[in-house]
């Protein structure tokens, strides 16, 4: 049986585009996808000196809300995430592990001084969610520019890469009993 995926909008209500997001993820992952509530205290994950939230702390808090040990949980936050050595991260996942988290903070066009564009935000968030879930299912970064698992450290790179797995990554996932 396929591993269930639980989606949690961590810092408040689900956005109006949550259905579009779930559909986008479901197009790639045949697994059962359910949204759940995960009331994580984000304030406790805030590092005042950086005015950013520690991705590892958010992820650890999120995992406490995973409904069953066989499932994967993906948290979506609006706050800015970081890991200690990096200035920021779009998301963080446990490689071949139970959880992942994605931040929409730097996926918004407004962050770059551009007019807001919900369509672009949804597309980027879908890609980031699939990317981090890919890590949670054991995938590493892929050299194929079109693959959703291609590494991206800028939003431009997120836009350039595709929203689906390449043949190689798909076959790796199938080897892990993905579908």
């Amino acid at each position: 049986m396929a591993v269930p995926i639980h989606l949690a909008f961590v810092d408040g209500r689900a956005p109006v585009w949550s259905d579009a997001l779930i559909s986008g993820v479901a197009e790639v992952f045949p697994n059962p996808i359910r949204t759940i509530a995960a009331p994580v205290d984000l304030q406790s994950c805030l590092v005042p000196s950086r005015q950013q939230h520690h991705a590892a702390l958010v992820l650890a808090a999120l995992l406490r809300h995973r409904p069953d040990p066989a499932s994967k949980i993906l948290g979506i936050v609006r706050v800015d995430l970081f890991v200690p050595v990096l200035t920021f991260v779009f998301g963080q996942a446990q490689l071949d592990g139970p959880g992942a988290v994605v931040s929409t903070y730097r996926l918004r066009s407004e962050f770059y001084g551009l007019p807001g564009d919900e369509g672009v935000l949804v597309e980027r968030t879908i890609k980031e969610c699939i990317h981090e879930l890919g890590h949670a299912f054991g995938l590493v970064h892929c050299d194929n520019y079109d693959c959703v698992m291609h590494a991206s450290s800028t939003v431009d790179e997120v836009d350039v890469r595709g929203a689906v797995f390449c043949g190689h990554c798909a076959s790796v996932l199938e080897g892990k009993g993905w579908s």
Partner: protein, 446 residues
């Protein structure tokens, strides 16, 4: 993405953890170390492609760790990571061979590019090593056959001196293969990727030799229509092989001494000083010490060039090399002439072994080549060997001097060539200048 290995050295657990996660997602095999000592232990278990090293750690200083890491694996690419932006430390780390330097926290894009560049540089370095190995194989000097202990000793000397940058004088009779020895020294030296430039000082008149060695500017003399680089300039980075050094004129000796002392010179007709980093290997068949005594060769130049001495023994002093060399030449000419000759007939072996080979390996090669032209069977026969090897020289008393044999041989060849020095030199396989010298020495007339 890769099967590359990375070692993360940082005293902060959170930094190690986040970097470990980040690089694992990138497909790296990641190891972490919390301090310098753990890093060194990990390096000993290595190897690692990249070492991400925090400079400020308790205990062992990061710079000291960097030095030790390089000692253990000089090929590991080190990227310095520090929370303190100190230009001095960065410069020191870079001087010690770190690939780059970043300050924590680092932008993910910057770290990605840095690691990508480091891997690219490493790939290029690995390719460079592979290419050098390939070039090295392709540029191997011609093999030198050495069955005898005497030639084994010569090859041992070649291996020893090749590692140094010292000047070498190779001595030996004509035809003993002095140039081959020079090429072997060059091919085994660190200069092997640069040219070996050979000049035969004995075959070039003094005025031309000057231009040949130093080059000239346009208009330096009548007929100098273009600027031309000299052999010394062309040998930059490599080896200059100066054959028949004992034959150069006193003026050329002074000029050469100056270049050897400063490695600087000017082209004929030029003002600009040119620098050339070359290693000098000389050869001569003459007794340089005697020439110094007779004041025909400058003592200071003699000591400058005579740092290392290799004496190539004549073929008659190493008879165990004769048949292997003959077989080598048979194989060479059989291939070139498309003849199925594969062996030496027993009678021919006896002739080859009995002859004293005054012209040394060159004469042997010549004899084999001529016999191969004449021969028709699958083996080299005694009747096909040149007259000099068959005419009973072997029965001559052993007390006969080499000079007497050489004189006789030259006289016969010259006579066969109707006194034509150019043709005789070609048959003897020596240059005209050497033949003229020999004619003069033996009092022979054309």
């Amino acid at each position: 993405m890769t099967d590359r290995r990375i070692l993360i050295v940082d005293d902060e657990l959170s930094v190690r953890g986040s970097l470990e996660e980040w690089f694992r997602e990138d497909g790296f095999q990641v190891e972490t170390a919390e301090d310098g000592l753990a890093a060194i232990r990990a390096m000993e278990r290595g190897p690692y492609d990249i070492v991400l090293l925090d400079l400020k750690m308790p205990g062992m200083d990061g710079i000291a760790v960097q030095k030790r890491v390089r000692e253990i694996d000089p090929r590991a690419t080190i990227i310095i990571l520090t929370a303190y932006a100190s230009v001095e430390t960065a410069v020191e780390a870079l001087k010690l061979g770190a690939f780059d330097y970043v300050t924590k926290p680092v932008d993910p894009d910057e770290l990605s590019n840095l690691v990508r560049n480091a891997l690219n540089a490493r790939t290029l370095a690995e390719e460079n090593v592979r290419l050098k190995e390939t070039v090295s194989e392709l540029t191997q000097a011609a093999p030198i056959l050495a069955v005898s202990a005497k030639m084994e000793h010569v090859l041992e000397l070649v291996r020893t001196v090749a590692e140094t940058d010292s000047s070498v004088v190779i001595r030996g009779e004509s035809g003993t293969g002095k140039e081959l020895i020079a090429r072997a020294i060059h091919a085994q030296s660190r200069r092997r990727y640069f040219p070996l430039v050979a000049v035969n000082a004995g075959s070039i008149p003094e005025t031309l030799l000057e231009s040949e060695l130093f080059g000239h500017e346009k208009g330096a003399y009548t007929g100098a229509q273009y600027r031309r680089k000299g052999k010394i300039e062309l040998a930059n980075g490599g080896t200059l092989f100066l054959d028949e050094i004992g034959d150069i004129t006193p003026k050329m000796q002074i000029d050469l001494l100056r270049v050897l002392e400063t490695h600087r010179f000017t082209r004929l007709g030029g003002n600009q000083e040119i620098e050339s980093d070359f290693r000098l290997v000389c050869a001569t068949h003459r007794n340089l010490e005697k020439l110094v005594e007779e004041e025909q060769f400058r003592e200071d130049l003699f000591y400058r060039i005579n740092v290392f001495n290799i004496q190539v023994p004549p073929l008659r002093e190493r008879p165990e090399d004769v048949l292997p060399l003959a077989r080598f030449f048979i194989e060479k000419y059989a291939r070139a002439m498309g003849k199925p000759v594969k062996a030496v007939a027993p009678e021919a072996e006896a002739v080859l072994l009995a002859y004293r080979w005054p012209g040394n390996v060159r004469e042997l090669e010549n004899a084999v080549e001529r016999a191969m032209v004449a021969g028709r069977g699958p083996a080299l026969e005694a009747r096909d060997l040149p007259v000099s090897a068959l005419n009973g020289d072997a029965d001559e008393p052993l007390a006969r001097s080499l000079a007497a044999l050489e004189k006789e041989h030259i006289a016969r060849v010259l006579s066969d060539c109707e006194g034509n020095v150019t043709r005789a030199a070609k048959v003897l396989d020596i240059d005209r200048a050497t033949l003229y010298n020999k004619l003069k020495r033996y009092g022979l007339r054309r």
